[in-house]
């Protein structure tokens, strides 16, 4: 693993990309304890001002945090005191702090990216594993299904599904399925195709290897061969494609939220922020900071994840060099 790490970091730019990604992730993860105004707090008096950082007495963001998460509030108070950094990246028309919104939006975007990708990994790996290991008719049928799905414009199907499920939001909420869960499941359910193809290819070749034959000769059943001999050899590939799936999934969530079909206000995600920024552009007030900063957060994350995924692919498995 350390060999992989050195090979990764030797690539020019990869270390910088990793640093950027860590910065974005930290901003999102630490958002509650950072000294920022509350992301949904309206402040009409300060609406629509450009970036102008001010270190001032905390409004009610600390009080709200004390109510919701006392431990986090105590930590924040100990480190930063009763102060907050307001307006560092400007405010929107309603006076909400852009930096706080970008940080909190990042929480949702990254979370959806991670969980929906994991959903897609579960489906894709199972699908590819079963198809590759079963072989024959089953394999052909399962892979034909993947071929057909590949030629379907899935974004449209996703929008249709999300729109239909919106109508049933109340019934779904009653069984504990919130909009975020719907997003995780639906996005995950359409992002597994490449993973399935790649896993199946790997399984096909692993299946014929000698150690699998040896295990079989020793009396190991199919379940044992799959879990003990084939799965452990798949992790490298799976991790590489997971890294490459996360940015695609984040983009898909941003796309849906941008269209108003993803996360719903007052929740924030980068897609919502980008949409709001564009809506608030008028000839009278060109609030560029509302367009540039959420877009930059999204672009930096996608750029870093893509670069890391490519670098990881090259470092882990030179055979996969495209």
């Amino acid at each position: 693993m350390s060999r992989v790490a050195t090979r990764l970091l030797r690539r020019p730019g990869t270390a910088a990309m990793a640093g950027l990604l860590v910065a974005v992730v930290l901003l999102a993860v630490l958002a509650p304890v950072l000294p920022l105004p509350h992301y949904a707090r309206l402040d009409a008096a300060r609406g629509g001002t450009g970036p102008a950082p001010a270190w001032r007495a905390a409004d009610d963001s600390l009080a709200a945090l004390r109510r919701d998460a006392p431990a986090a509030a105590a930590l924040r108070e100990r480190v930063f005191g009763d102060r907050e950094l307001a307006g560092a990246l400007g405010t929107d028309a309603l006076g909400r702090d852009v930096l706080a919104r970008v940080a909190w939006g990042g929480r949702v975007s990254l979370m959806v990216g991670l969980i929906a990708s994991l959903v897609s990994v579960v489906i894709g790996v199972s699908w590819g594993l079963i198809a590759g290991f079963a072989g024959g008719r089953v394999d052909q049928l399962m892979m034909r299904a993947v071929d057909v799905l590949f030629s379907v414009p899935l974004l449209f199907v996703v929008i249709l599904i999300v729109a239909v499920l919106r109508e049933r939001a109340l019934q779904l909420a009653a069984i504990g399925v919130t909009r975020l869960v719907v997003l995780y499941l639906v996005i995950g359910a359409v992002s597994w195709l490449t993973m399935a193809r790649i896993v199946r290819g790997q399984v096909l070749s692993l299946r014929e290897r000698e150690f699998v034959g040896a295990a079989r000769a020793l009396g190991a059943g199919p379940a044992r061969i799959v879990t003990r001999h084939i799965l452990p050899n798949l992790w490298g590939t799976v991790i590489v494609y997971l890294t490459l799936t996360v940015p695609r999934v984040i983009l898909l969530e941003a796309f849906l939220s941008f269209l108003g079909l993803g996360v719903e206000p007052p929740g924030v995600s980068w897609g919502i922020l980008a949409a709001e920024g564009l809506e608030q552009l008028t000839a009278i007030s060109v609030a560029w900071w509302l367009v540039v900063f959420p877009g930059a957060a999204l672009a930096v994350t996608l750029l870093a994840l893509n670069a890391l995924g490519d670098a990881l692919r090259d470092a882990l498995d030179p055979r996969l060099l495209a």
Partner: protein
């Protein structure tokens, strides 16, 4: 060849049928109907509406009737725009989207191919690094972020283009760039990689030895085989441009199919949504078929055979 096309057309039909059936079941299995407004309707009116829009029969019968109408290119009435049929709406908005999509594809090719060639011909120089760096950035920039930046710069900072609408050439410029540029980045990378591979071949050295200029070797000899990866990318690119137009049409207020589709999802206008999904599925599948055929034309070594669908 004919056999190949026929088999592939059958697959296209199968895909469209699967998508239509899946979407139909999804949409019609809902308990509520499209006429459940806040105002309660008289039960008689309700029943008449349901009958008029064919929502009162058993699901199986509705499905069969829908399929038979679809086979006759009748996509049913729109549930929201009550005076229009879905076919009329599609017929009106498809050309708008097609024009935008073609322009975006043109942008992708006209920017991507020269950029890739430039990078390949100056391999290892700062030009190469600059072009490839820009391409990596372009790949990571979502089209709605790009659209926002373009609007900021070219509408509000330098008032060069109108902010929205469709119809005139000037109104088409920004949406086409926003939609096409990310694909230009991908094409530049693919074309550069393809060219670098081809430029190492023996017959390229022969062409150089005959005294051909660099440009003649690049465009006359190396370009055609190097285009193969680009051509195979065109299938996914077209699909991506079609989905991207959902967002770009909304940003620039263009009344294309994408706008209608998003509207229909909000309005619970399921006939329109179903119709648009079907048209897009058919479009993507047919364009993919065209791309595969073009592939065979570009490289005679690739045999187009039936069964490789």
């Amino acid at each position: 060849m004919t056999r190949f096309v026929l088999v592939r057309l059958l697959w296209v039909l199968l895909t469209v049928w699967l998508v239509v059936s899946g979407s139909f079941v999804l949409v019609r299995s809902l308990p509520g109907g499209p006429f459940d407004d806040a105002r309660a309707l008289d039960p008689v009116i309700r029943a008449n509406l349901a009958a008029a829009y064919d929502l009162d029969a058993p699901l199986g019968a509705q499905y069969l009737r829908y399929l038979s109408r679809v086979a006759r290119f009748d996509l049913g009435p729109s549930l929201k725009y009550r005076d229009f049929s879905v076919t009329e709406i599609v017929a009106e908005s498809l050309p708008v989207s097609a024009l935008l999509g073609s322009c975006a594809l043109a942008v992708a090719l006209l920017v991507g191919l020269p950029a890739g060639a430039l990078a390949a011909s100056r391999r290892g120089s700062w030009v190469d690094s600059a072009v490839m760096g820009a391409a990596t950035l372009g790949l990571a920039l979502p089209n709605f972020v790009l659209a926002g930046l373009l609007v900021l710069l070219f509408v509000f900072h330098w008032a060069l283009f109108p902010v929205s609408g469709s119809g005139s050439l000037r109104q088409l410029v920004l949406p086409s760039i926003a939609l096409g540029l990310p694909f230009a980045a991908a094409i530049a990378r693919l074309f550069r990689a393809g060219l670098l591979e081809v430029l190492g071949e023996d017959w390229i050295r022969t062409a150089r030895a005959k005294g051909l200029s660099g440009a003649a070797v690049l465009w006359g000899h190396a370009a055609r085989p190097a285009l193969l990866p680009v051509v195979s990318f065109l299938g996914p690119a077209v699909a991506g441009i079609l989905s991207g137009s959902l967002v770009v049409e909304r940003v620039f207020a263009i009344a294309g199919m994408g706008s209608h589709f998003v509207e229909s999802a909000f309005n619970a206008d399921y006939n329109l949504a179903l119709g648009v999904v079907m048209v897009y599925t058919a479009l993507v599948a047919l364009l993919n078929l065209l791309v595969d055929l073009a592939y065979g034309l570009l490289d005679p070594r690739i045999e187009v055979a039936a069964g490789t669908a």
